[in-house]
Assembly symmetry: C2
Homo-oligomer: 368 residues x 2
């Protein structure tokens, strides 16, 4: 087995779970947040920075790496870990989300998806077999099945057909997977916003006995209540002894909702993306560093934070860097935001251990 | 005295000199290269990176900091060291070079220079007194007198008038300087490409007994031979017991020419600027990392280099980052280029100590 999952607070079927995901490259304490390194780098940060902010696993994007630099090149480099100099666990998505986001640029058949590159318009084809081959080349510790991420809204009939196809694709992914001892293949539950289709998806994927399950197709534009409702009935239906991953979700207000419903893993570009727009996540809420009020603010970015940035620099300096368009500003904010996010996850884990999850839920469920 | 200078290989009047410049924030081994941190950051790097590449002193630009964030703000922050989190020595230029580079935007009188900001077109006035006041606010360990950097070519008559004015301004700078015990004020020799005017400038500034002297107005577009000729007669005329700083020069082929003629200090944006254009300085010469030949080159950037970047990443990865426009690529190349440059300076210093400067001169005088 490429991964092993331990639940540390018993076999909770629906409430918050405290767990540990063991891989050959290190263990991941759950609930976990995975920083996103789309192009084989978490933007602006190097592997030492990622260790300093205490990232235990990062996510990288199959679609992007396939197009550039090419998964064959990454394989020749010795895999993604060697290529980017990161020796801790990596998860790769399957490219499904990106390919289906290309809207007008793609065409779906039972066999797979034909799409055009966002880089140069060249035509490409992803099938379940092709996606897995690429992920085998990249060599991440956890790889995701190739699915169709259904847009919102979608009618019942389309959702039903797509969800069934995703189940058939999941089987083909499992059969195509060449390195099951080194790479854990997770299935992705679809089903749109329809309870019977979500449960059907869970059942069909469950038959394939994947070492982990993701909930896909959420956070795609649906109202918050709809997403929470889907989570509410989908999560507890998943196998209790396998890790559960809510894809593309990473704002703290949603993370605590996910944890409350038994989700173990999250990923999102949010902390690093907003950093590059000058937004800091702090213990006092979001802070737009560019604002004039910080020009002569010689306090630390987040007085409640112990990270390198908050220990070394003032809001006035960070504002100066951002206003002057200095690259260092983007890096320091990215660093802090990830540290903040990963500290919050640590806080959530401790609270679960100590039976006071309600406290952190209250604290973060309205975090903006 | 804010600085003390020791010559370690005797009182050489014209040959290469091995020295040590002592300041309250640490000592600087000379010949020294100063990385440039124009806007209170050496672009893409943080203070820890600068220490890791073994920078002993950095240069920052008065003109830029005056405009943004403002020297009063930097003073309130506790000075430039506190503002940017750098506790080793800093040298600030006087803004003269930038102000006079604004060509059409400025007007010179005996009193000073009226100019318009490159940021917003607003009108400003720098006099010797004003420049020194700003430098006193910034609080660098070494500050430069306000001079006119004469463009090339310039006729004898203009050069004569300008050089005399720079001498008068130097006196006014010295008189205006409020913190001589904390900040060493260096004079700047002008005189264009005319020997008698250079020697006149040396003599007039010598009367003011500055703790250090810069040679300004070189590397402004004149042919290489002209520059070397001016250096040849100007450097040995300077006081032997004071540090000599050749402003704005930092390509290795010029650095060794300067060292050969008794220069102790250099600065240049070159290593970091070319890095941001994807150019690496290596022991095998310049390398354009974007070139297709490096796409599958899994060797280190510079096999002759022991820096973090060369120990951790391959050319293929660095090329991918640069091609994919990832910020991390700019930082890693900047880091390496500065490390390379500062290692070369170390090599030059060792060679002087060991009486084999000719070797490194031969090695680097044709470095491209």
């Amino acid at each position: 087995m490429a991964v092993r999952f331990q639940l540390l607070n018993g076999q909770n079927s629906s409430g918050p779970r405290r767990g540990r995901l063991l891989t050959k490259r290190g263990s991941i304490e759950t609930p976990a947040f995975m920083p996103v390194g789309t192009q084989a780098t978490v933007k602006t940060l190097d592997p030492n920075d990622l260790k300093a902010v205490q990232a235990e696993i990062i996510l990288s994007n199959t679609y992007h790496l396939y197009l550039r630099p090419g998964s064959d090149l990454v394989r020749e480099a010795g895999g993604l870990h060697a290529f980017m100099g990161w020796d801790r666990p990596i998860l790769t998505d399957s490219g499904g989300f990106q390919v289906f986001s290309l809207a007008a640029l793609r065409q779906i058949t039972e066999d797979g998806v034909t799409f055009r590159s966002h880089l140069d318009g060249s035509e490409h084809f992803f099938s379940p077999e092709k996606a897995i081959q690429i992920e085998n080349d990249l060599g991440a510790d956890i790889i995701m099945a190739f699915d169709e991420c259904i847009p919102y809204p979608a009618d019942y009939s389309y959702t039903q057909r797509s969800t069934s196809r995703t189940s058939r694709w999941a089987r083909r992914c499992k059969e195509a997977h060449q390195r099951p001892e080194e790479q854990a293949l997770f299935g992705i539950v679809q089903g749109g916003m329809y309870k019977d289709l979500r449960l059907q998806s869970v059942a069909e994927l469950g038959e394939l006995d994947f070492p982990g399950y993701a909930i896909g197709g959420l956070s795609v534009g649906e109202p918050r209540e709809v997403m929470l409702e889907v989570l509410e009935y989908t999560a507890p239906a998943l196998p209790q002894d396998k890790p559960r991953y809510l894809m593309g979700v990473g704002s703290l207000d949603y993370v605590v909702e996910g944890v409350a419903r038994g989700i173990d893993m999250f990923d999102c570009v949010l902390p690093t993306r907003v950093a590059r727009h000058g937004l800091a996540l702090t213990t006092q809420g979001r802070l737009t560093i560019r604002n004039a009020q910080y020009a002569r603010d010689f306090t630390s970015l987040d007085p409640g934070c112990s990270c390198y940035v908050c220990q070394s620099f003032t809001r006035a300096y960070l504002r100066h860097l951002v206003v002057a368009k200095e690259i260092l500003g983007l890096r320091l904010l990215s660093y802090h935001n990830l540290f903040f996010m990963l500290q919050a996850m640590q806080e959530i884990r401790s609270a679960i251990e100590e039976g006071r999850f309600t406290e952190v839920y209250k604290k973060y469920s309205s975090y903006r």
